[in-house]
Symmetry: C2
Subunit: 410 residues, 2 copies
């Protein structure tokens, strides 16, 4: 079964809004067995919407449309779809009540815009939006389905999770799809390809392999489509085991790319605690740890020591070592890790100190030089890395590498 | 002049990689005067690539393609384009030398994959890739241009900035495009639309208005296309001034959505310093501040106090107040802000304490309850907010709102 995703909104085309909807929807639809044929982002015009909808319904079985269902004048999706499917606009009392509840709970009074959002086409099924006021619209024509949803990501997510997935599963018989990821750290893509070339050539014909590089990691994806999930999974598992024998130290997970989650699970299952002391990563390691629900069970906190005086006063780093070796040095980064470990009385601690850029580099320590330390119950380990020139990428690489170093301590 | 963006890669369609390239490219191309007609994401198959390229070249003047130019077997873009444009594959010595430099500087030896990346079509202009090994390819046909680039974001960025933009500007006479943003905080989209309805109805006909809601903010965009930039800008400026008279307290910027940058500029220009003390935002405020280049000039650091004992020991929060009022309270959040301000000897300090969710809520303090305080040279201010149920969104809203509170102190 093919599925198209259409995202409507000038804000996407002029680069003001990142299309996270298409990404999330793809993941969900792929997981239940749809082959996503295309993502298309188009302008807020009746002509573009109509053209895209016609084309998508010709080529795919299911079309999911986001955007242009809001309460303001630039929202054209509903009138265009209503006229395409030949319906009439009527007020839906259930939708009206839901909107009223949301608006009054926020302490506002219903205005005309809010009232207008209860007007919907009479030839579609109205889909409840648990997280917002604009309902989803489920149209059917010639055995095909088109669902229109608002563009606000957490509203779309609620509509898809609560209703669209169950309804699609009921309507279609879908194949099983396996996308087994293998997450690696420590080898660039081209070198990895060389090391695993024989393994790649020997893969069974039903398996498709892809390389996905990102800062500090290369992800490998083994895909299969078929009817029997358990048979396919065991074929794929066998290949993953062979791969892990070739690069045992580089594979860090097969379940999750999210090192924050992986580390959380390790800390939780062993009953250990963590603190961080960050300089160049400026809170990003802490953010990756705390964005995981339940992290307060094992994470105590962090000292972000951007200024040297904070390193000295809060983390007991010796000022003489900062003078002699510099803030970006093995001596300082190790003292930072041990300092926060002792201060917050944790089992583990991570620290980072480096030159994120674009300025601050020297001949001896160019932009991209980062020292990372991990304090463990058995002592402290540390390592120097040479990343690139881009500030954002360096912060991400340093944080990912730091979490990877902690992971390998378990 | 129309422009299409084609993103190639199964990882986009199955939702494993977020398409940041299309977003960034759109912004750059819109800024130099192109009208972006479509973003299309397609599979790594010769058929899909060929179909998309043919369609795009029929409808647009310029087509920018990313992905599928890497060194591994799943990369099909180059052979497909080579055969579409009728060329032959040959080795480019300059490209070879550049690849050799990169590979050896990382301490590796050239392998077959690296060598193969110097093989390019002989009927295109080869575009230098400052940040990676795969070159860009510039094809021309019937007055139209197609540029193929690798999918790694910082490589694409270098190719577009260094070469594609200058070459496109030279080849085409482009119109001026104005996209004036107005960033607001504090009013939901539907209420904002009502408050500014008369202003919206009175906008000159050449101006197009769009509403873009995101967690904690609503962005308004006023767009115009024409020949004379300064005339258009003054028409738009006049409308923005009228708007600001209607909602003076809600407009926080017309230049940048990035509150981290805005605050950095304010602190820098006034010679003031900042520290943060974060609980529920877990380092995200600090990350937003430190991802700005040069932030070490005004940012001293943070105490991320996830555990109550860290709030007490590191931020001098009174344990009796935590017992009496709870960690999520005015008393505690104000003490956190003043505690870190005094400890790190800064002019300003931000603190957050809340229940990000999904668990931890009570009847009195449900998930989404967040206290935020700002310590200034003249005392401390604080406010309680009620956000929603989603952890990620709550963290983002709380951090954005905290930065907004600090901004309004200037």
């Amino acid at each position: 079964m093919n599925l198209d995703i259409i995202s409507i909104g000038d804000e996407l085309l002029i680069g003001q809004t990142l299309n996270t909807n298409a990404h999330w929807i793809s993941k969900e639809m792929n997981a239940i067995g749809f082959a996503i044929r295309e993502h298309l982002s188009i302008a807020d015009t009746a002509e573009a919407i109509l053209g895209a909808v016609e084309n998508a319904l010709q080529n795919s079985d299911v079309v999911l449309v986001t955007g242009g269902l809001g309460p303001t004048k630039d929202d054209l999706t509903m009138p265009v779809l209503n006229s395409y499917f030949g319906g009439n606009l009527v007020r839906d009392e259930q939708v009206y009540k839901h909107i009223e509840e949301i608006i009054t709970s926020r302490g506002y009074v219903m205005n005309q815009h809010n009232q207008d959002q209860a007007i919907v086409p009479d030839n579609c099924k109205v889909v409840h939006n648990a997280n917002g006021t604009a309902p989803g619209l489920w149209f059917e024509k010639d055995g095909k389905v088109l669902v229109a949803m608002p563009g606000v990501p957490y509203e779309t997510k609620a509509i898809i999770t609560d209703t669209v997935i169950p309804w699609l599963k009921e309507k279609y018989e879908l194949p099983e799809i396996i996308n087994q990821m293998v997450y690696t750290q420590g080898i660039p893509e081209s070198m990895l390809a060389e090391i695993i070339a024989d393994w790649e050539d020997g893969l069974p014909s039903g398996i498709k392999l892809a390389y996905l590089p990102s800062p500090g990691r290369v992800k490998l994806r083994l895909s299969m489509v078929g009817k029997n999930r358990s048979t396919m999974q065991s074929i794929v598992d066998e290949q993953v085991e062979l791969l892990k024998q070739i690069i045992p130290d580089n594979v860090y997970s097969e379940e999750s790319e999210d090192l924050g989650e992986l580390i959380g699970a390790l800390l939780k299952s062993t009953g250990k605690t963590l603190a961080t002391a960050e300089s160049c990563t400026g809170g990003y390691v802490s953010h990756l740890v705390t964005r995981v629900a339940g992290s307060s069970d094992y994470y105590k906190g962090s000292v972000i020591a951007y200024a040297n005086e904070v390193k000295i006063a809060e983390l007991d780093v010796k000022s003489t070592d900062i003078e002699q070796y510099g803030a970006v040095s093995q001596q300082v980064v190790e003292q930072m890790a041990v300092g926060v470990q002792q201060k917050m009385k944790t089992d583990y601690a991570i620290s980072t100190s480096g030159i994120a850029g674009p300025t601050g580099g020297t001949d001896e320590k160019p932009v991209g030089t980062v020292w990372i330390a991990v304090a463990t119950p058995d002592g402290v380990i540390s390592k120097k890395y040479q990343f690139g020139k881009l500030r954002d990428v360096n912060i991400e690489r340093a944080a990912m590498t730091a979490l990877g170093m902690l992971r390998s301590c378990f």
